[in-house]
């Protein structure tokens, strides 16, 4: 991953409640950059990325889906479409939504100018991996149960 991208993603953590973020490539969901706790490894993101890309394309409309906000228990996952990639932010549900929206807007604006063709990709998903999740990693802030 490029340091510039990671440094930009790290600025999202200025917002209280943001636990990390990552960027996936449009069209195939390959991971382009990440700033996440180690418990969410590249193999997990390799499965998550393509699904996020597909979610952004399910609404059949003249205007493509620009943002998705998903709520899972005490967490939320926000996705922002950029021209060539998608910015994804994992945060506690209690995060200030307006502050998060602004932070996502600023970061995506910065990443808009990035040349993604020169960014090394993370490993592609294992072709033999099951189509549905085979394991769940409990992620609650800093506490982890494998």
């Amino acid at each position: 991953m490029e340091n510039g991208v990671v440094d930009t993603l790290k600025t999202l953590r200025d917002i209280k409640g943001v636990q990390g973020s990552f960027v996936v490539r449009a069209q195939d969901g390959r991971v382009l950059g990440r700033d996440l706790p180690a418990v969410i490894d590249d193999a997990i993101l390799a499965r998550v990325g393509p699904r996020i890309d597909r979610l952004l394309n399910i609404v059949d409309s003249q205007t493509p889906t620009e943002t998705i906000a998903m709520r899972f228990g005490d967490h939320r996952l926000d996705v922002k479409r950029m021209p060539a990639a998608h910015l994804c932010v994992l945060a506690e549900a209690s995060v200030s939504a307006p502050a998060l929206r602004m932070a996502v807007k600023l970061v995506s604006r910065k990443l808009d100018n990035h040349n993604w063709t020169s960014t090394p990709l993370a490993a592609a998903p294992d072709a033999n991996a099951p189509a549905t999740p085979g394991r769940a990693v409990q992620f609650r802030g800093g506490r982890t149960t494998l």
Binding site: V59, T65, A69, R71, A97, V137
Partner: protein, 237 residues
Amino acid sequence: MASETKVRLLTSATPMDSPEGFKAMLTGVTLADLIQMKCMSGASECLRISSSGKVGVLQFSDGQLTHAATNDLLGESAVLELLNWKTGDCEPFAMALPQSSAIRRAWQSLLLASAQATDERVHSLENTRPSPDRATVEQGGNMTETPRSNSVSVRLSSDGQVLTSAGAAEDLAAAAAYALHMANQIGEYLGLDLFKGCELRGGDLRTVLVMEDNGDAFALQSDTEADVVGLRTRVGL
């Protein structure tokens, strides 16, 4: 407080010159967003809200919503009325209101009450809107077709079957069922708790999917912000 006093409160206010900080003009922000922002930042100030000739005031003290007034209402009822205003302007004002709070409930509770009221209006709209089947019967009987708004909704069972729908919801049903699968898988991979719902936005179009306690999923798609605000709050977004 007499209505005369209320009017005086609103008209005697003078614009405040903020000594420091940024001045900003934001669009696309709801009043609920502003209240949340002010309360979470521990603000102590007064805001003057104007919308289509109507005027209202919100006062914050140490991050709590302590007073509210419109031309006709005071306190919590004024807050709920203000939250119904969908467009308008907001500016800081210097104003002296009584120290004792006219609002007993926490700001979160007021936002939730407003969202629930909006949600009930949406459900009421859904129930009064003709179903696709009924529209066909009406057309067959040479009755005039009722004009429909740009909102469609669908309720899905846990196995993806359409239970009820309003408007041309076939595409929405398929999108909602697919989104449910994708979101559940994303949540499981990331080790997150159960998926509660999501909102997709593109241009003016908003699509909100809500998981209900009985396992059903309710999806609403609309080009009107007011239609989805209640559902979004229910999801906790």
